[in-house]
Amino acid sequence: MEQLTASMPLIVFVMIGTVAVASSILVVAMRNPVHSALFLLLTFLCVAVLFVMQKAEFVGAVQVLVYAGGIMVLFLFVVMLINVRHLPDERVLSNFWKGGFLVGIAVFALFVTLVRPGVYHDENANKSKLSTVRDRVVINSTKHPGSVGHKRVTRHNVNSEAVADALYTDYLVPFEVASLFLLVAMIGAIVIGKRELSAIEEETAPDYMLARVETEREVKEAMNAGN
């Protein structure tokens, strides 16, 4: 029984890793983009399990929330929106698929040569740092009654707090840059994705849309007149 408990992480790793690799292959192999998206979801969930196995609970949660929740919905939304009809005999592979497989074999051979067993030795690193925070706590001083002092209190098994500690101290500038990046990406996606009404579409466009275009035109004219 103890032996089984000791080898449990290995069993979970082999099972989840197999599912992750198999579903990632199916992402590439499926004809229908919806099927690809669902297998991609399975891969993301397996990777989240692998993160949690390695004391990265917060990253695992972010993986499920952002990837499985946000990005997957975006993909499925676009697949449904553009609604491409594939003919059964349409080619799925591009013209240089042979070169693609060659590149894949070469890159995989490179990885196998780089990651031979025994190249990297597992060190006994201090893994408690991954989930430890040190709080500064105010206490009543014992030497001088009536005044207060500080004490360092270490708490364990708090991975989210440890990551937050690193994000808001050492990595504050990259964190803010990331928020700016998200703003720019959002504006860019809206600007690129928005549709301009053309003359042909005006006949089929709903009334409220035409009214909005009309209002915009009036506003523009009023502004030009003001200038």
């Binding site: 990632s24 992402v27 990837y67 993909f75 929106l81 995989f108 990331a178 998200l182």
Partner: protein, 100 residues
């Protein structure tokens, strides 16, 4: 716990699958999904090294990579929608106005 080379091999395999998918598929949405696969493989690598070295940097960088992946997916899908409006097709090899 599996050794570090097992994690690296797993991430290398998923990365290779994503790379092959990017090259061989014609459907642009699937190509974007394969790019997400490659980014995920890199994340596995970073978290594995973070666990091995006992340092938080790998996890912090993983969060940044997830952020970048979200932005990249949003902009890429917007480009795909616009291309579909323009050409009624999302095949990679039919968008060839820019080749020389």
């Amino acid at each position: 716990m599996p050794a570090i080379d097992a994690w690296l091999m797993l991430s290398g395999t998923i990365f290779t699958v994503g790379l092959v998918g990017v090259i061989i598929r014609r459907n642009m949405i699937t190509v974007l999904m394969c790019i997400e696969l490659m980014l995920n493989a890199v994340n596995i690598n970073l978290v594995a090294f973070s666990h091995r070295l006992g340092s938080l940097e790998g996890q912090v960088f993983t969060i940044f990579i997830i952020t970048v992946a979200a932005g990249e997916a949003a902009v890429g899908l917007a480009i795909i929608i616009q291309l579909y409006r323009l050409r009624s097709s999302i095949n990679v090899d039919e968008a060839r106005e820019l080749n020389g």
